[in-house]
Symmetry: C2
Subunit: 205 residues, 2 copies
């Protein structure tokens, strides 16, 4: 078979994702990745030559997975309601299983903006569809006039922020109580959908 990936290589990438996503590039030790993968440190260099190369692999992997899941949602939706509901639900569900993810992407993107932005731009076709959908729906007369881009950022911010700021929200608002925080997250998607609907739709009650 072509494209066959050795068991070891696969183990390395998996382990590297775990460690890099949690600790960031600078905070990650090659030894820790090796331990996580239960292999010898020098194998990391045998397969990926350098920490930087391994990191690039990890970042591209993680990022494209996120983009893929978002793209699917956008393509499957034909009204704003639908888009809003399925976007928020799938995105928050994704983050429930991978809470470190946004912090990782956002932190690393500040480290080497140029490289990252190149990568991001190579995945941007579905943006057009999104804008089109939003402006076409903007002609409906039961919708308040807001800048569609501001609304996209609103929804993203409301969805992602609780996970980025989890330690602060947990500690500061819920006084460290894990259960109330989890319940808050459980209700989050539903809340955002209702909140945004009552903001943009006239007579949504």
């Amino acid at each position: 078979m072509v494209n066959e990936i050795s068991n070891t290589e696969e183990k390395i990438v998996k382990a590297a994702i775990v460690v890099f996503v949690k600790k960031g590039y600078d905070g990650t030790r090659m030894q820790e990745i090796a331990d996580e993968a239960s292999i010898n440190k020098s194998l990391l260099h045998y397969y990926f030559r350098s920490k930087e190369k391994l990191f690039e692999k990890v970042f591209a992997n993680v990022f494209s997975e996120v983009i893929k899941s978002i793209t699917q949602v956008i393509e499957a939706s034909s009204t704003i309601e639908e888009l809003l509901e399925s976007f928020v639900s799938t995105y928050i569900n994704l983050l429930k299983t991978k809470p470190y993810l946004p912090n990782f992407v956002l932190h690393e993107i500040n480290r080497k903006p140029s490289v990252m932005v190149d990568m991001i731009n190579s995945k941007g076709e579905n943006k057009i569809r999104l804008i089109k959908l939003l402006s076409q729906e903007g002609e409906r007369n039961d919708i308040r006039e807001f800048d569609p881009i501001q609304i996209i950022v609103d929804v993203l911010g409301m969805s992602i922020f609780p996970f980025i700021a989890a330690p602060i929200i947990k500690g500061f608002i819920f006084e460290g109580d894990e259960d109330t925080f989890n319940n808050f997250i459980k209700e989050r998607a539903k809340h955002i959908i209702n909140f945004v609907k009552s903001a943009i739709f006239i007579n949504s009650d």
Copy 2:
């Protein structure tokens, strides 16, 4: 005078804030702080003994400044409208001048959650006032029923997220165009205020 702080010590802290906030703990080199402060590297150790100690000083400084500015706003407001308007405006203005700040706090808090959370909790009295204000206003009959805490997180997320995600928004949505992005930020506070108002107030039009 008691409490007199030497000029050098002050210069070090200022420089350390700049570098730590931009590069994070792991990404920061003591040499870079020394350069930024135009002093000799060994003076950093003379005044603060270790990188870790210096960092703690910096984090406490930065964090308490943020808390102070938020507290002032909360204390000065007596209705939700007022609170919303002055909170969003002052917070976004603060972030315009210090865009790296949220990323720094949120990234470092994940590095050593226990230490950080202790620090955070030592500043939490104004939270009570905030909750009281929100639930008391909840009795007004021109307001839709939402969980006040969800709304606090909504507002925080909408305000902070554009700055955390600036490189992505700039690159992905505005195709790298600095001007459109700046304009987007300029409109941001106004938008959030309108958006939240039309979400929570019945007949806000």
